[in-house]
């Protein structure tokens, strides 16, 4: 955590940051007016994926807890809303149903993982994710099975593709802010403590399991949010939204973008979605490209693109301009 600088704010890195930020914001707002529906849809996909990636970022960046089953939670929320739309429930009830499903599934995830760490945490979440997928496949009366459910639209007012894009943009900004606040809060501090040394935190009297459970619940809320937004984007959901790849991709996004950073999920989402949606029209082997990029990022740029750019900017700018992101490596303690 860095100390607030005493000298004046107008430094080169700060100016560069502000200009870049303005450019990005202007681009984001102008988008529907300059590109076709397809690309606006892609941009919406980026934003929704970024929210899911951000939910994983909370657990993995601050807590050191890697979940490879989070798509199970977002898929469950998605089915909650889809089923409610199918049953023609009032909009408020639809939201309550999907919220309820999100809470229940997150709680199950939380209970199963709160006493685990590291690799075990990861393996349990893989299994949990696959269980969710299995339920979606088999419970066809509710989920439509493999064929999925279609025509699950958001309320008419936000349904047009450009309106929906702005709504998602707004929600994304709010979510990012909320996650940033959580991360800066005492709760976030405890999480990072747990990540760095569980035994020390335990000896300080913290109930590790409760914190892990709470972190999973919070993370699950954002994952559920992403799940609902994802369904509304195309009106369609099917079990593929919760399979292993669906859980792996947001993790890849976070790592590529920068684990533990506020904007990492967005940057990662842009990269991954561009590769999987746009590059795929021209290159057959895009998955290899993505995999190689991912490996390279993990080995060469463990702080992801955001972290890497930050250190680069710091060196170029001549002074540290901004909070340094926390190092994502976990020490290899034998406990």
């Amino acid at each position: 955590m860095s100390v607030a600088p005493a000298s004046p704010r107008i430094t080169r890195p700060a100016v560069v940051k502000a200009v870049v930020a303005l450019a990005v914001i202007a681009f984001a707002f102008a988008l529907p007016y300059v590109v076709s529906e397809y690309y606006v849809g892609v941009a919406t996909l980026v934003l929704v994926s970024a929210i899911l990636a951000a939910s994983i970022n909370l657990l993995a960046g601050d807590g050191g807890l890697v979940s490879l089953g989070h798509a199970g939670i977002s898929m469950a929320a998605g089915y909650g809303i889809a089923w409610s739309v199918k049953e023609e429930l009032p909009f408020g009830v639809q939201l309550l149903v999907s919220l309820g499903v999100t809470l229940v599934v997150s709680a199950v995830f939380g209970l199963a993982t709160m006493r685990m760490r590291g690799v075990f945490y990861l393996m349990i979440t893989v299994a949990l994710g696959m269980i969710c997928w299995g339920i979606a496949q088999k419970w066809s009366v509710v989920t439509g099975g493999d064929n999925g459910l279609s025509r699950n639209w958001p309320p008419e007012a936000i349904r047009p593709y450009w309106t929906y894009y702005f709504v998602v943009l707004a929600i994304f900004l709010l979510a990012t802010l909320a996650l940033w606040v959580i991360s800066r809060s005492p709760f976030g501090l405890v999480l990072r403590g747990i990540r760095d040394s569980e035994s020390r935190m335990r000896s300080l009297g913290y109930r590790i399991a409760s914190y892990k459970f709470a972190a999973m619940m919070l993370s699950g809320l954002f994952a559920g949010l992403a799940g609902v937004l994802m369904v509304w984007r195309t009106g369609f959901i099917n079990p593929k939204s919760g399979d292993f790849i669906a859980s792996a991709l947001p993790l890849i996004m976070v790592v590529l973008g920068g684990l533990g950073t506020a904007l990492g999920p967005l940057v990662g989402a842009v990269i991954v979605v561009l590769i999987s949606q746009v590059l795929s029209s021209y290159v057959d082997r895009w998955q290899t490209v993505l995999g190689l990029l991912f490996i390279a990022s993990v080995i060469l740029a463990p702080r992801g693109l955001v972290g890497g750019v930050r250190s680069l900017a710091a060196r170029v700018g001549g002074r540290i301009g901004g909070r340094r992101p926390p190092a994502p490596e976990t020490p290899a303690t034998t406990e």
């Binding site: 529907p32 529906e37 496949q137 099975g145 064929n147 702005f166 802010l177 593929k240």
Partner: protein, 429 residues
């Protein structure tokens, strides 16, 4: 540190405000869905091909593409006074991707019609979208509801039979052959339910009795435990409706290993005896029966010509998916020949196809027509696996059932009032 929060929060909030304001302003050209009317560059008809080129269904996508390309290669990409332009997109065997690519085809490439997808869940989602976008969908899928409960005037099934439609004749044939008890085995999801549902509906209507129905989890490649169960049953005939992928190979192999082939007659859906499973499992499959709407061993003139040309171009025996795409191209050609200078799109295209089909006698499937729900009506063949002179295995026709509709002998209204096939609803009537 404390001073940063208000600044950041302020920035976010003002951004939000702007977002909400802008949300009310529509971008130019967004109001009218089909105002993205195709640029009519002097007689070009653009077709979007949405196939699974990657992912687990990639074999079907390749076949579909090959069948389509073969026809237009034979006809120099022209039909009447029109030039055919094909745009290819890969749906990666994934429905979300399929939807996104369909949007791209319609919005960016401005296609006049979309052919495909093949995969049921992809196709249902895409058909829905194309119905809303008012673009014709020449569907290649077997999902029943595309021309039943979710039918649309923009969607017509020109390249496939409905899942249950494709297996009716197997039930009839089993009863005709005097096999009075049967067991079925199908994957436990929509495709399997439809396949077994078709067999069961026709078989029971013809007086047969089904003693056991086995359902295996989708994606299972190892069917040994199921084969063990089947081998222990005492039935006259076994029906298997695998997806044609690893489960087809698994079923045929296990049926041979556990002594089913050779002791009990086996009849399968088209996918199980498609060329890849046959080639992979080999000679032990000889004698296995199947019901298909395309039999590569059929020796009508049209089919021999198609098959020879296909083998010369691609080196493999054409599959059901290839023939469906070829048929679609044939129908489109005939429509455009008759069209004059008015480009037929949307519902006009669909209606034109329905009109031109019964009048044609050179379609690769034989006599083809369409019903009120835009489902195809065509012959079904019951075949046996045999060995060709050059050693390759294929399906040879034993018996033909003409004019099979998606409702068989059942009343369409009663059928549609029933739920879709599932583990709890396994046959009509």
């Amino acid at each position: 540190m404390q001073r940063r929060i208000p600044l950041r929060g302020l920035a976010v909030l003002s951004a939000l405000g702007a977002a909400f304001l802008l949300a009310s302003c529509a971008p130019p050209g967004a109001s009218d869905p089909d105002e993205s009317a195709p640029a009519d560059g002097g007689g070009t008809f653009t077709v979007g091909l949405l196939a699974s080129e990657t992912g687990f269904a990639s074999a079907t996508g390749t076949d579909m593409k090959n069948g389509w390309d073969l026809y237009w290669d034979q006809h120099d990409d022209t039909a009447g006074g029109w030039t055919i332009e094909s745009v290819y997109e890969d749906d990666a065997s994934d429905p979300q991707t399929a939807l996104d690519k369909a949007t791209r085809l319609v919005e960016d490439e401005k296609v006049d019609a979309v052919v495909g997808p093949v995969l049921a869940n992809n196709a249902l989602a895409v058909a829905d979208y194309l119905d809303g976008a008012q673009v014709a969908n020449l569907s290649q899928t077997s999902a029943d509801d595309v021309t039943q409960r979710k039918s649309s005037p923009y969607v017509i099934r020109t390249g496939a039979f409905a899942g249950s439609q494709a297996t009716f004749a197997a039930g009839q044939w089993a009863a005709d052959e005097g096999y009075m008890t049967a067991a079925t085995i199908c994957p436990d999801y929509a495709f399997g339910w439809d396949n077994c549902g078709g067999f069961a509906s026709a078989y029971l209507a013809a007086g047969g009795e089904i003693t056991n129905q086995l359902w295996y989890p989708q994606g299972t490649a190892d069917l040994s435990t199921y084969a063990t169960q089947l081998a222990g049953l005492d039935v006259d005939v076994i029906f298997a409706g695998t997806t044609g992928g690893t489960d087809a190979i698994g079923f045929l192999q296990a049926a041979s290993d556990y002594g089913i082939i050779g002791t009990t007659p086996v009849i399968t859906g088209a996918a199980t005896t498609s060329s890849n499973p046959l080639a992979q499992v080999g000679d032990v499959t000889i004698g296995v029966h199947s019901v298909t709407y395309y039999a590569e061993g059929n020796d009508t003139d049209v089919n021999v010509a198609f098959r020879d040309a296909y083998e010369e171009a691609y080196g493999t025996i054409p599959s059901v998916y290839a023939s469906g795409a070829y048929l679609t191209a044939q129908l489109l050609d005939k429509v455009l020949q008759d069209a004059g200078s008015d480009k037929p799109t949307g519902t006009d295209l669909v209606d034109a196809i329905k009109k031109v089909a019964p009048e044609s006698d050179d379609l690769v499937w034989g006599t083809v027509s369409f019903d009120d729900y835009n489902g195809v009506v065509a012959p079904l063949y019951v075949n046996s696996v045999a060995k060709r002179d050059d050693g390759k295995l294929w399906n040879v026709v034993d018996k033909t059932y003409d004019d099979v509709s998606q409702f068989w002998s059942f009343d369409p209204d009663a059928w549609l009032a029933n739920p879709t096939f599932s583990q709890s609803f396994t046959h009509q009537g």
